[in-house]
Symmetry: C2
Subunit: 302 residues, 2 copies
């Protein structure tokens, strides 16, 4: 009789690589549920009671998950919009994550957390640990350095999770800190990119990609090429396509490390497209996700 | 007949200045509720059910609030430890904040949030806005630059709240990014300190202090003098006293801009002192808070 040894936990990067291949998609749908933008049919008493508001948010996110599941590899719920509804909102967040995972989507919790070690351990426990972790990956902030992120890396190693570390963000003001010129002639974000590459070396999976990814705004096409060069093994998470102004063509150069070496996030153009098109909100989300999926795949050159 | 115009909302910095003067204290008690460190009498079923765990956390924080209220000007609940218990944990956080405010303490939510503008607006709404804001102030991260913090500054202006922006953190790894040498010869955290000073100029209250404060680790005594020079109007929030190794004497130079120009945060040495002393947990917290309050006040030279 052969004794089966349980296989090691599959890395987050490998799970991304397999999902990208399986679906022929590198699309991530951002979930930024804002009460004032929800379809009228869902609002009900949402303007008067937080519980009703959180229910409306959970129903909206569930509907978007159903609409985009065939076209996206992941959803990226933005915690701020759930926290704005307090404890009820966090319950809606947990429901949304669970529902998305049951629909076969990876969940990237957009939390941008970063704190000293003992606190970071609590954040890692909150999102990436436990029998069924709430999320598959978490966005994190590098300002507090390596020891503030080690607890996340440990959680990734043990539970097959991932992190995406902010490197060069999509907003204009990001330059105030990220574009500061260093004594070596480079910019701060390039220094951070090198740190992220180093931090991710221990977490490289069978597909050659690390579970320590990097956030690079799609609104900076030139920075994308440079980030790709500095982070050859990291999955780049590229927000900013759609409402923030970037196009699928702007992100083409992110994919030179393989079809799963970048994920493109679009939020408002998918979830709130119905507000300008007048279509049913689910139909609108579905069509825009399908369109973006195809355009990004073509731009990626794979 | 004279028409009364409602007086402008009092700024956070003015509220801090008045609390410091009234209590003769610059002590902030950090609330980092970790289940495994709670007094046995509170644990109950906390290890099996999240609701019970959250109840235990709320009771513990309430007890600490009662114990330290005569000696501290503020509490600083660390969101990570509440988020680790999900929606139930966030409910315990809300209860803790409300209870602390009713006990006459200011509440500094230690969240270290930072995100692009539309998301930052949601975080500002979550913590600093509404009829009764959850917290009086919030810690924030500067990596995404000014436009990511503007929504917080706006909330502070309208609702009398405050922010403490990370500048030089107490952990060792903070140097990976914060101590990078710039082309002007300075360090990155000094550049960030100058930005914070500039961002806070519009929010200076009647006591001459800004509601845009800065976090500087008490574990770096030399950085404190330099931060004080770069940020003459900011309230410095100094964590790291006690369990992290800094002493009240290390922070003396932070107070040269006035008795309320710095707040000293201690967490574990107050809340978990009972674990080594064997005293009742409330008595232990009360005594250690009283001792630290007096030592810090003496060190401040006011």
């Amino acid at each position: 009789m052969q004794i089966e040894t349980p296989s090691a936990t599959k890395t987050f990067a490998d799970r991304v690589a397999e999902a990208v291949e399986h679906k022929g998609s590198q699309l991530v749908v951002g979930l930024d549920p804002r009460l004032d933008l929800l379809p009228v049919e869902l609002r009900g008493d949402a303007h008067v009671a937080r519980t009703a508001a959180a229910d409306a948010v959970a129903r909206f996110c569930g509907g978007i998950v159903d609409a985009v599941a065939p076209y996206a590899v992941a959803v990226k719920p933005q915690l701020a919009f759930f926290e704005a509804l307090g404890a009820d909102g966090l319950r809606a967040f947990e429901q949304t994550c669970e529902y998305a995972r049951s629909a076969g989507l990876l969940v990237i919790a957009d939390a941008k957390r970063g704190d000293i070690g003992s606190t970071a351990r609590a954040y890692a426990a909150a999102y990436l640990e436990g029998e069924t972790p709430v999320a598959d990956a978490l966005t994190v902030n590098p300002y507090l350095g390596r020891d503030s992120l080690d607890p996340f890396f440990g959680a990734c190693r043990r539970h097959g999770g991932g992190v995406f570390c902010l490197v060069k963000t999509s907003n204009e003001g990001g330059g105030d800190v990220q574009d500061v010129r260093l004594s070596d002639g480079g910019l701060l974000w390039q220094h951070v990119a090198r740190l992220v590459a180093e931090w991710g070396e221990d977490l490289i999976g069978e597909h050659g990609l690390s579970s320590v990814g990097a956030v690079v705004g799609a609104t900076h096409p030139r920075a994308i090429s440079e980030a790709r060069r500095l982070l050859p093994r990291s999955i780049l998470l590229l927000p900013g396509v759609g409402a923030q102004g970037a196009s699928p063509g702007d992100v083409a150069r992110a994919f030179t490390s393989g079809p799963a070496s970048a994920l493109v996030a679009a939020s408002r153009s998918i979830t709130y497209g119905f507000r300008s098109s007048g279509e049913d909100w689910r139909t609108g989300a579905s069509q825009e996700a399908a369109r973006l999926k195809t355009e990004i795949w073509a731009a990626s050159g794979w």
